[in-house]
Symmetry: C2
Subunit: 347 residues, 2 copies
C-alpha cells in the first residue's frame, strides 16, 4: 500500500534550516529553557504545521523507555461485565494519555501467559489484570521483573499486590441475610468450581450468613459448576435440587451466567421464580428487568472498580518504591426486587 513516507523531525529541520535538536525542543515546549530564539521557534512551529507533522510514538517510546501503553488482560471481553470494565478502563486511561492494549484469554492461564509475554515485549508500562485461575506464577514473575500491575475484580490473598475488588464476602452475606429475613430457610447457592478467591469469598459469605442465622447448610444446597460446561452441569444440579425430599426455597446465583442458564432450564420446565424458589444473582444484566419477575441482584460498581484500578496503576508508574501496596475493597449494593420478595408474599 506504499504508505507515504511520514514527516519526521528531520524534514522539519531541513525545511527550516536548523538542526533536529532545535525542532525537538520547540515541539516539546522546551523552547524557553533550551534558549531557542523566538523567531526560530515560530518558524519551526509554522513549518511543523505546514507539513502536518505527527510525532512517531514508537521512536519516542524506544528512546524514553516509556510507551504510555497499558495492557488490559481480561478473561473474556465478550462477557458484558468485562466489556464494561474495558470501556471504563479505556476511557480513564485516555484521559491520562495512555492507550489500552487488550488481551482476552478465556479464563485460561496458558493463554494469559502468552498475552502477557507479547505485551511485555511491546513494552507496556503496566498491567491491569483480571486474573485467571492458576496465574499466580505469572504475577510473581511480573513482580520479580518490577513491572507494575493492578489486579481487578479478582485477587490472590497470598500475593502482596495492588488490587481493586468488590467485597464479595459481604455481598454474598448480605444476600443471604436478605433471603433469611424474607422468611426463607432452605437457601442454595450456585457457584463456579474454581479456586479463585472471589468465588471462595462468595461461598463463604453465603455460608456465614446461614450459620449466623442458625441455619445448618444441608448437603446439596451448595453446587459447584464447572465453568467450561455450565449448561449441562446446571441442568443436572437443578434437577437434583428440585427432586430432593426437602427442596430449597431460595437460591443465590454467584454469577450472571449461572442465573441465565438456570432460568433457561426452569423455563423449559415451566417453573417460575419466585414460585419455585426465590432468587438473588450477582452481576447486572438487561434481562433482570425483562424477565417475567424482576431479579434481585448484587450490584457491583464497575465504574468505581475500573476507575480506581487505572488510577492506582498510573500513580505507580510514576513512583519508584516497590514496597507499598494499595488494596481497595469496594462495597456492592444489594438491589432487591420481586424475585426475592418475602416468602409470605409469594402466591
Amino acid at each position: 500500500m506504499a504508505r507515504k513516507k511520514n514527516v519526521s523531525l528531520k524534514d522539519i529541520a531541513l525545511k527550516s534550516g536548523v538542526s533536529t535538536a532545535l525542532v525537538s525542543y520547540v515541539l516539546n515546549g522546551k523552547a524557553q529553557e533550551s534558549r531557542v530564539g523566538k523567531e526560530t521557534a515560530a518558524r519551526i512551529l509554522q513549518v511543523a504545521e505546514e507539513l502536518n507533522y505527527q510525532p512517531n510514538l514508537i521512536a519516542k517510546s524506544l528512546r524514553s523507555g516509556k510507551s504510555f501503553t497499558i495492557g488490559l488482560v481480561i478473561a473474556d471481553i465478550a462477557n458484558p461485565f468485562f466489556a464494561n470494565i474495558a470501556r471504563i478502563v479505556d476511557d480513564v486511561a485516555r484521559k491520562y494519555n495512555y492507550t489500552i492494549i487488550i488481551g482476552s484469554c478465556d479464563e485460561n492461564a496458558e493463554k494469559s501467559a502468552n498475552v502477557l509475554r507479547v505485551m511485555i515485549n511491546r513494552k507496556v508500562d503496566g498491567f491491569i489484570i483480571v486474573s485467571s485461575e492458576g496465574s499466580e506464577e505469572q504475577l510473581r514473575y511480573l513482580q520479580q521483573q518490577h513491572i507494575p500491575f493492578v489486579l481487578l475484580d479478582r485477587h490472590f490473598p497470598q500475593l502482596k499486590t495492588d488490587y481493586v475488588v468488590t467485597d464479595n464476602h459481604r455481598a454474598a452475606y448480605d444476600a443471604g441475610i436478605h433471603l433469611v429475613a424474607g422468611g426463607y430457610r432452605k437457601i442454595g447457592m450456585m457457584a463456579y468450581d474454581t479456586t479463585l478467591f472471589h468465588m471462595q469469598e462468595r461461598i463463604k459469605g453465603y455460608q456465614d450468613a446461614l450459620h449466623d442465622s442458625g441455619i445448618v447448610l444441608q448437603e446439596g444446597w451448595l453446587r459447584k459448576i464447572n465453568q467450561f460446561n455450565v449448561s449441562e452441569e446446571i441442568n443436572a444440579a437443578l434437577e437434583e435440587m428440585l427432586r430432593a425430599d426437602d427442596p430449597i426455597d431460595a437460591m443465590i446465583f454467584s454469577t450472571n451466567d449461572l442465573a441465565v442458564n438456570s432460568i433457561k432450564y426452569l423455563n423449559r420446565l415451566g417453573l417460575k421464580i419466585p414460585q419455585v424458589f426465590a432468587a438473588v444473582s450477582f452481576g447486572q444484566a438487561e434481562w433482570f428487568d425483562l424477565y417475567q419477575c424482576p431479579i434481585s441482584y448484587v450490584k457491583q460498581s464497575v465504574d468505581l472498580l475500573a476507575t480506581k484500578a487505572v488510577e492506582i496503576l498510573i500513580k505507580n508508574l510514576d513512583r519508584t518504591d516497590d514496597n507499598r501496596v494499595e488494596q481497595v475493597r469496594i462495597n456492592a449494593t444489594l438491589v432487591t426486587r420481586a424475585s426475592s420478595r418475602p416468602k409470605a408474599d409469594v402466591l
Copy 2:
C-alpha cells in the same frame, strides 16, 4: 518501580563474545543464509536462553516500519454486539501475530478522529473500523495517507473502501415478509435517526417489503429515535403508536437496544408481546430467550463478519496495490420464534 534493565541483543553479544549482528541473524532463524558457524549459533541460542532474552518489539517496529498492531475503532465496546466483535477480532488477529489496540468512541466522530490520530502516531499497520456518523472525512484522510483499513458492520456507499457488512436491506426485507406471511398488515419499524447507511438499508428493506406486499406504509408506522435519548423518545413513540386509531399489529426493531427499551415500556403498561403486537428484532441477546415470549430476531454472523474483516485487512497489509477493493456482504438469518407467530395463533 525501577524496572530491571532488560536483556538486549548487545548483552547476548557481549556474553557470547560476538557482534550483535550475529545474534540477530541467529535469533531470527537466518543463521544458515547468513553463514553463521554452527557452534557459534548454538552458543548464541544457549546464552539467549540463559538470559531469558525477550525481543524489544518497539525497537523492531521502529526499524522495520511495521508494528504488527491493528487499531480497532468501535462505537462502544460496552455494547455486547461490539464486544463480541472485539473478541473475535482479537482472537483472529492474534493468530496472525498481530496485537489489537482498542478505541471506543461513543458514536462520536470527534472522539473517533482523536482515537485515529493517536493510533496513527503509534504506527498501527491498519485499522478495522465500525464507523460513527460523520466520519467519512476521516476515512478519506486514511486513504489519502495510504493507511489500510476495513470497515466493519457499517460502510459508506459513496466511498470506495474495503468493507464487510451484513446485507441489511435483505435482512429487514425478510423480516417484513415474514410478518406479512404471518397475517400482519400493519407493521411498524423502530429505527435510529441517523444517516448511517446500514440503518437506511434496514429502513429501506422494511419499506420494500411492505410495498412488495401491496401494503401502503401509513404515517406513524416508521419511527426514528435519537440514539442519545432512546428511552424517552421510545416511550413517546410507543404511546402515540398504541393510541392511534388503527394501531400497528407488528413491529420490527432495528436494533437490540430499541427492543429492550420498548419492552421495558410495554412491561410497565402490562402489555405483552405478541398480544399487543408481534415483534422481530435485529441483533441477538440472552434475554430474547428469557422474556416471557421468545423474541424472533435477525441473526448476524458476528463471527464471520469479524473474521473476514481481519483477514482482508491482513491480506492488504502485505500488498502494494491500492486500487482493488474487497466488499463483502454477509447474509443474516431470520430466527423465528413465538414473538412473531402467525396472527391467527395469537390468543
